[in-house]
Amino acid sequence: MSDGVSRRSFLKTAGASAAAASLAQVAQAAIAPPEAGVPATPTLGPDATDVTLSVNGKPMKLRVDPATTLLSALRMECDLTGAKEVCDRASCGACSVIIDGRLVASCMMLALDAEGTKITTVEGLAKGDELDPLQLAFVKHDALQCGYCTPGLVVACRALLDKNPKPSLSQIKSGLSGNICRCGTYTNIFNAVLEASGQKPIADSAPV
């Protein structure tokens, strides 16, 4: 934390620990008076702060520590545990959600920053009992093994199809390149996306 303290890492660690000298210095730097002409942003925290999130079409009133990530808020405060914490630094995609139509790693966003946006999580893709065709295609093509990466991948595929309803194989690959799966389900995921977008899955060799 010596140079370049991001808002997130600052908020995630700063706060109550006035006892720690290094943190106190960081806090000093962070609360330096704003430069002239820069509008002051309201100070939030260190106490818990009210926030209202719109998740899957429902308003959720929460009271969170300002350092809480959107991912933690969804998982711990909203009981929406579909999004997973796997890397906590935007390198796996397991925490993917759709915010105002954009695919976002919810581990990299503060819950407070998500106020006023529309958040869709994997739990919000099915309409009641009716699954998103993409979800059905995942099940049909066995595009999941342990399933831990699956919610993030389903969301990433949904975001891809929303932007590009008929993606080519290479567009699918790059569209999903922010997600990883350790069990190795990628090829079946490609087939699920192809099928959900009305295209033919990739066929293996015919018997010889």
Binding site: T13, S17, A20, R75, L144, G147
Partner: protein, 721 residues
């Protein structure tokens, strides 16, 4: 279609025509598929009981360090901090637990960790197998003579880097102790060994608490063998504080201290006849086991090939790093990497086709599988090793696998309810293999009903006990066990029908959901269940011994890859993975096991490397940015081929498909560029070095490779491990 109406047991696909009709249930998808794609599936890490406390270990940040001072007393006073305990003074590897902190929220815990401000005194470290090798061991006298007499000789050193399991759900559990009972939500590959290891810490008898693991986010071997330090910490704290306690590693801890596939080094000296016959030689292997006492085995020779008189020796080397744990086919991918590339080098020495060489050395089953694979991959398009001159060169390679499976006995129950539903019950866990689905298929087939009406309960210590998911034994053990329980339930139901209808029991059968009397349908299964005098009948395998069955799984993989000789980048184009596993129960999950094995094998071959700083011993890449695993963009087309010829028993499938991939890719790269890359990960720098060493003559020049994982001249930070 709706979630409630969707019958996932009948979802036919047609894109893998080779495998059509090869399994008991071709069209069945995973029974838990919908729970997983909707986010409804709850893993251990998804449990946050009300009032839950959070605990984590304090970790040694260096390969060797002494804890000189810390601010535990001040940390204890911070808001939200429940307990701080520093219990160890010296750490011998990065990630060693030195104590723990418990707090009332994840953020309070994080702040407390930051505020602990430990001061460390670093010590000298060793980080490589090579740190312990001064001189290559000489062959014994007889082997030396044999080598001297051979007209052709191969001498080479192969090495593989340390691979972490990288399960996406990290290790840990949540324990809720309520005084005289407890609930434990665990991420484990062994429900029952987890339970057995926890009683003492909980101060409860096994019957007083339940270990649940309905869903597990991967394990690959690292979550076998009991509750581990995370489980014990959660159990002790919850027992003491009488509150639920949540302990899950973060990604960094997961890389550092939850096991790995150890690094390996293999010295090969082989004597070869001019016709390619291998007369024998010396194989010396080393395993880099970190602070562990063993577990570094490297399975070469594999005994799949006739290699003549081999004198083999192995040594485990300790250094300052976290120790290994079983990882999918422990020791085998390491050995196979050396063995398959070695065979291609021998073939090139003797100027013969490496496929022909293997045909001469391998068993008849493998020969047959090789013939099929060669056709599918287009082996006839393969160019001679070292003959290509373009920038992008194409290579073909192959490797083989085998795995045994032995029988033992476990427990299972099948309950038939009066409403016509069926429940298969087994406490063993589904770590992503499809176990839950496979057990339902077995029960359905044994009773004679569609899979769609069978529910399967898994992953609880309150259910009938089963084995841990390790060594590919779960299905071989549990399929016959579940079958016996289902047959028992079926017979009990038929006895009720026989009495009610006043017919001979022996004349009754169940097929496709119909009760047959002398092969004529007399009533539906559902109506028959309505005759039950009680709510349900339970079938058990108890007391019935299964015959000791042994089966063997064999596999062959072919890889086609291109190598960019200007950038050193390898792109895998296509993989054909032929695998036998006995009688296939569920086509789709079997295909997935094979595909997953191939993907992990490619990832191992091209990217994965636990990198230890040579000076501090710290792992420099304990994350997913710099510890790279294969992603969507790296994907070739993979064709899993289920080999059914002569298959009757249920045999191993989890381990074998991960064995041959890295070696097959190494052979393909060698074929493309004419010089071997003898160490994993086969990163661009190593590929370029191999290209630069040159394939001067058509059949491959002697390879001059930088010593894989070699000892750097001066110790600089950032060296490889």
């Amino acid at each position: 279609m709706t979630a409630t109406k969707t019958d996932v047991s009948t979802m036919p696909t047609t894109n893998r025509p080779m495998n059509a009709g090869q399994s008991v249930a071709d069209d069945a998808s995973r029974l838990d598929g919908i729970a997983k794609v909707t986010g409804a599936a709850k893993y251990g890490r998804d449990k946050y009981p009300a009032g839950c406390l959070f605990a984590a270990f304090i970790r040694c940040p260096w390969g060797k360090a002494e804890l000189v001072s810390h601010s535990a007393d001040e940390v204890q006073k911070l808001p939200g901090v429940v307990e701080v305990n520093v219990s160890r003074k010296e750490g011998l590897y990065h990630g060693r637990d030195m104590g723990y902190i418990c707090a009332d929220s994840p953020l309070a815990l994080k702040r407390a960790m930051e505020a602990l401000r430990p001061v460390w005194k670093r010590g000298e470290v060793k980080t490589l197998i090579e740190d312990d090798i001064d001189k290559e061991p000489e062959p014994d006298v007889d082997t030396g003579k044999l080598l001297d007499a051979a007209p052709l000789k191969l001498e080479a050193i192969y090495s593989t880097a340390c691979q972490t399991h990288s399960s996406l759900e990290t290790h840990g559990c949540v324990v809720d102790h309520q005084g005289d009972s407890a609930t434990v939500w665990a991420s484990t590959q062994g429900t029952f060994s987890f339970r057995d290891g926890l009683g003492e810490a909980l101060k409860l008898d096994a019957g007083q608490f339940e270990v649940k693991c309905e869903y597990i986010g991967g394990g690959f071997g690292s979550k076998l063998g009991g509750p581990g330090k995370e489980g014990l910490l959660a159990a002790r704290l919850s027992q003491k504080l009488r509150k639920p306690v949540y302990v899950f590693c973060d990604r960094r801890e997961e890389h550092l201290d939850t096991g790995n596939r150890p690094s390996s080094r293999t010295l090969v000296r082989l004597g070869v006849q001019r016709d390619g016959t291998i007369v024998g030689g010396q194989i010396q292997t080393w395993g880099g086991v970190g602070v562990a006492r063993g577990g570094g085995g490297c399975t070469v020779p594999s005994n799949r090939y006739k290699l003549g008189q081999i004198s083999k020796d192995h040594k485990d080397i300790a250094f300052n790093a976290g120790g290994p744990r079983a990882m999918r086919a422990p020791g085998h991918p390491q050995g196979s990497f050396a063995e398959e590339l070695m065979l291609d080098e021998v073939a090139t020495l003797a100027k013969i086709d490496p496929l022909d060489l293997r045909m001469r050395l391998a068993s008849s089953v493998l020969q047959e599988q090789m013939r099929l694979g060669a056709k599918l991959i287009g082996w006839e398009d393969r160019k001679l090793t070292g003959s290509q001159t373009g920038v992008i060169r194409t290579g073909y390679g192959l490797g083989t696998a085998s795995w045994g499976s032995a029988g033992s006995l476990a427990e299972a129950e099948v309950i038939i309810h009066r409403d016509g539903s069926v429940e298969a019950r087994t406490g063993a866990q589904d770590i992503g293999t499809g176990y839950r689905t496979i057990m339902a298929i077995v029960a359905a087939e044994a009773i004679g009903v569609p899979v769609g009406i069978v529910r399967c309960s898994v992953g609880s210590s309150r259910l009938p006990s089963g084995p841990g998911s390790g060594g590919s034994i779960t299905s071989p053990i549990m399929a016959p066990t579940m079958r016996m329980a289902a047959e028992d339930a079926r017979e009990k139901l038929l006895a009720v029908v026989a009495t009610a209808k006043k017919v001979e029991l022996a004349a009754l059968r169940i097929d496709a959901g119909e009760i047959l009397l002398d092969a004529k349908a007399i009533m539906s299964f559902k109506d028959a269940c309505g005759l039950l005098p009680s709510d349900a009948i339970t079938g058990r395998n108890a007391g019935r011994k299964r015959a000791e069955e042994r089966g063997h799984s064999n596999g062959v993989q072919f890889v086609k890859a291109t190598v960019d000789t200007e950038t050193g980048v390898i792109r895998v184009q296509r993989v054909i993975a032929i695998q036998s596993c006995g009688k296939v129960l569920c086509r789709k999950t079997a295909e997935s096991q094979i595909i997953g094995g191939v993907i992990q094998g490619l990832s191992y071959a091209m990217f994965e490397n636990r990198l230890l700083d040579r000076v501090t011993g710290a792992m420099v890449n304990p994350n997913f940015e710099w510890y790279r695993i294969l992603g969507p963009n790296d994907m070739p087309h993979i064709e899993p081929v289920l080999w059914s010829k002569g298959q009757t028993k249920v045999c191993a499938l989890g381990e074998p498909p991960v064995i041959p991939t890295a070696g097959a890719l190494a052979a393909a790269v060698f074929n493309a560029i004419g010089a071997p890359v003898r160490s994993t990960p086969m990163s661009p720098d190593k590929v370029l070095a191999a290209v630069a060493s040159g394939a001067k003559n058509e059949r491959g020049a002697p390879a001059v490779n930088p010593p894989p994982n070699g000892k750097p001249e001066n110790k600089k930070p950032g060296g490889g491990a």
